[in-house]
Amino acid sequence: MQKRITCTLLVAGLLILGSGSALASGFSIYEAGSKATALGCAFTATADDGSALFYNAAGLSFMTGSRAEVNAVFVAPQFKFSGKLSKTDPTTSTGEAEDKVYPVPGVYYTNNPGGSLAFGIGVYAPFGLGVVWKDGAEWVGRRISHDVVIETVYVTPALSLKLGEGFALAAGVDIAHQNLELKKYTPEPQSGENAIHTELKGSSSINLTPSFGLMYRPNEKLSLGAMYHFKKSMKFDDGDATLDAVAPGADPWGNALVGALGREQKLNTEVNLPDIMSLGIAYTFGEKFKAEFNYVRFGWSAFDKLALDFENDDLDQVIHFDYEDSWQIRFGFDYQASEKFNIMAGYVHDKTPQPLAAVSPLLPDSDRNDYSLGVLYKTGKWDFNVSYMVVVGEERTNIENGEPVRNTTDYPFGTYSSLANLLGFGVGYNF
């Protein structure tokens, strides 16, 4: 029975593995579990469910028995834009991303037989991006992107070793795979009419890097935690680039271009993912109220460029991002309202790693403030939770001193705004 439940939960979780959308700065998705989401993902010093595999695997040493857990955080991002294509463009354009809901999975199995060693394995998606602009063929930023999707799945098996009373050290392997898809238009040079539609699609090879966790609980009330996931270079070999003339019969320019470049060809590239470090402290006030603070640092400077190496060398190009390292502060509050109910809340301030020059239709990033709420219900061996988070991005205007930061004819300038609603569900079974 236990095995069947475990299997059922894991299969259910795997079924929801899918697209992700940037929720934290850059294109990270820090919401590896629904309960953690309710707590503003301030979870490194607590890490008392399966999502510990991401937030701090050393938490496994403080759990008891076995646990299977499935989380699904449904993300509904919104992006809007108002601005112009260039300084000499007489028309103000607006844009809006399509209403899409991206499921972010978190499927975990943990086992602590009670000795010094605990074990766990998790499947989650710590990086992802989905920005699909409405009316892509008309969207003012279509020269850069009208549809971009990045999906990243980590499988992390980890061992946690209890080294002494209240102190544990964990090590794991982050096994990662990534899918990448980008669609854009190239207009005919002088009419501005769309001539070529380009679709880049790739699937990375498997990448392995280590991760570490550390937890120290000197007493019942205080907990200190730290975690570190190494940076990654996701290699894409033999991706597919497809160039289509938008009006094959009517547009000689587009036809000539597709003919000259080759309609279909292979593409290689590499996407660097940042290292992630979190330091956390949690304290229980009285019997029922617990607060946690996390300082999280992303090594986003690793994401400096995207070098696209096409089969046709003439097409090779480098897109510069020049991200900078960034940080977040996270606060989580957990109140045990009754024996069966916990009420949770959180707040996050998230600094963007994206320099103003890199703000683009691909990802208009900004500093963000997140607010979260959630409820946990426990009954017998089961527990259920529901979480809600709103991610409020600050408006980002890529104009400085009266001049567009990037005064070109392909990157629009103006103001981007963003917001995301997240609704999470988690179910766990302890055995």
């Binding site: 509904a76 919104q78 809007k80 834009f81 108002s82 601005g83 112009k84 294509l85 260039s86 300084k87 000499t88 463009d89 007489p90 103000t92 607006t94 020269r143 190239t186 207009p187 005919e188 040079p189 002088q190 009419s191 501005g192 009419e193 000689p252 320019w253 000539a256 271009l257 000259a260 470049l261 097409l315 190009q317 309202a337 009754s338 109910f341 009420i343 709420l373 959630g374 409820v375 529901v386 809600y388 709103v390 409020v392 408006e395 205007t397 104009i399 009266g402 001049e403 567009p404 005064n407 004819t409 392909d410 300038f413 103006g414 103001t415 981007y416 705004s417 917001l419 609603n421 609704l423």
Partner: protein, 486 residues
């Protein structure tokens, strides 16, 4: 029980929040905070439009040696630009010329070998693409001078088949590689894709559209010479089919210049600066040698046109200096009057009228002015008459000169119509003066005497070739000189 109620209430509140969600307001349009467009925002400072005179055509052909000294290149250099920021359709030696060297071959430019004027080289047609050094340039050229372009072509020609030359039985293939959209691959990479193009119609790819796509702050336009020169150099211009009627020229020129001003204003968001130039009258075209000067050297001749005023000097040489000059070898009083008043003079009136209209149009603000080419040349003649004489003629009247000394005297190339390096500097100075006047800039002129023109193109002169005497010009070369204007 109370705790349970509290918990249920909290859960209800949470669900309500989830259902409602938060929504995103539209961001305010911030573009009003951006500084107005100015010439500094132009995607390029300068584009030149024209015909062979703009392209840097020299010695009956287009080749990098002449292009390096085209007047637009000189103007651009004085503006602080260079070969990378002011691009031209560079052509490798021996260039692309106009001499008939037989089917399947293309002549190079002409050069002087000490005794005769000959093509510098001959290139098989199939190898001509190898001469086009800049064909892979990613975008439109800054120098949009197309040898042989007529006023009609400004708005309409983007290929040999669409050029005005078709009407004259000679499609202009220069359009094929000068007026092209740019290298496909680089355009694909979003280089210089115009933000605010004119209404659809790019497929024409004419000089006009190429210029709008380029989006310059300054344009020079010198066009119209081909509308009359082929007719004029026939020796029988009156009623010649290759001469564009003045009214047609005025329509072509007006349509072009008004469209250019409006197109650039729309493209750039600020008024463009457009500097035009008038066209040379007969007296200011070296190809035509005035009769008194001619007779002072060659003595009196019999003329089939008794009131001949100008002699087509190179035709005279190629015909073996005949005692009687046929009607095709001279321009008589009626022909000169016709050309200078009803054709060139009327063209120049149209140019000045249109320039004034564009400059004063309150609805489409633009800064427009023109270079008075004839006034400049007349002033030059007063101080340096040799500058306006043909190299071959100067060789006859200065028999003790070295080739280099003779070359340094004249501002005109071997074909007698196109300036040489000194002459293009002179033309550039005319444009620079007006540009400075209109824009308030202070670009320096280039001393023509500082430029060197080598009519031998560095080809060693055979030892037996004695300097002096009457140079030889074959009928093919004479024809090439005439065809330089088509």
């Amino acid at each position: 029980m109370k705790k349970l109620l509290t918990s249920i209430s909290m859960l209800a509140l949470l669900l309500a929040l989830l259902l409602a969600g938060c929504s995103l307001d539209d961001p305010a349009d911030p573009t009003g905070t951006v500084n107005p467009s100015s010439p500094a925002d132009a995607s390029t400072p300068y584009v030149a439009i024209g015909n062979s005179l703009t392209a840097g055509f020299m010695d009956s052909g287009l080749m990098k040696a002449g292009q390096a000294n085209s007047y637009p290149m000189i103007v651009a250099t004085q503006m602080g630009l260079n070969k990378d920021t002011f691009t031209q359709p560079w052509i490798e030696a021996p260039g692309i010329g106009t001499t008939n060297v037989g089917a399947g071959n293309v002549s190079g430019v002409l050069h002087f070998n000490g005794t005769a004027v000959l093509p510098l080289g001959i290139t098989p047609q199939a190898e001509v693409p190898g001469l086009l050094l800049a064909v892979a340039q990613p975008t439109q050229y800054h120098n949009l001078g197309v040898p042989g372009a007529f006023s009609f072509d400004l708005m309409n020609a983007h290929s040999a088949a669409t050029s005005y030359g078709v009407n004259l039985g000679s499609p202009n293939t220069f359009f094929e590689f000068i007026n092209r959209a740019g290298d496909l691959v680089s355009l694909f990479k979003n280089i210089e894709v115009p933000a605010n193009p004119p209404a659809p119609g790019y497929q024409s790819g004419s000089q006009f559209y190429q210029t709008i796509a380029k989006g310059p702050a300054l344009v020079t336009a010198w066009i119209g010479g081909n509308d009359f020169l082929f007719g004029a150099t026939s020796g029988e211009p009156i009623g010649h089919p290759a001469i564009t009627p003045a009214a047609t020229f005025a329509t072509n020129y007006g349509g072009f210049l008004h469209s250019l001003a409006g197109g650039l204003l729309q493209r750039n968001g600020f008024p463009p600066t457009i500097i035009c130039a008038t066209l040379p009258l007969v007296r200011n075209i070296t190809y035509f040698l005035d009769r008194p000067t001619f007779e002072a050297v060659f003595g009196a001749r019999v003329y089939d046109e008794p009131d001949a005023e100008y002699i087509l000097f190179t035709d005279f040489l190629s015909a073996g200096m005949p005692a009687t000059l046929p009607v095709e070898m001279t321009l008589d009083t009626a022909e000169v009057t016709y050309l200078d008043t009803e054709v060139i003079g009327a063209y120049n009136t149209a140019i000045q009228t249109v320039v004034a209209q564009v400059n004063g149009n309150p609805d489409v603000p633009a800064h427009a002015d023109f270079v008075d080419f004839n006034a400049n040349v007349d002033a030059l003649r007063a101080t340096n008459p040799d500058a306006l004489r043909h190299f071959l003629f100067l060789g006859i009247i200065y028999p003790d000169d070295t080739i280099a000394e003779t070359a340094a005297r004249t501002y005109f190339a071997l074909d007698g119509v196109h300036p040489n390096n000194q002459g293009y500097a002179f033309v550039a100075n005319g444009f620079l003066e007006v540009i400075n006047s209109v824009t308030g800039s202070s670009y320096s002129p280039v001393p023509p005497e500082a430029m060197t023109w080598d009519p031998t193109y560095g080809v060693p002169i055979p030892a037996k070739a004695a300097r002096g005497g009457i140079p030889r010009i074959s009928p093919e070369v004479a024809e090439a000189m005439r065809r330089s204007f088509r």
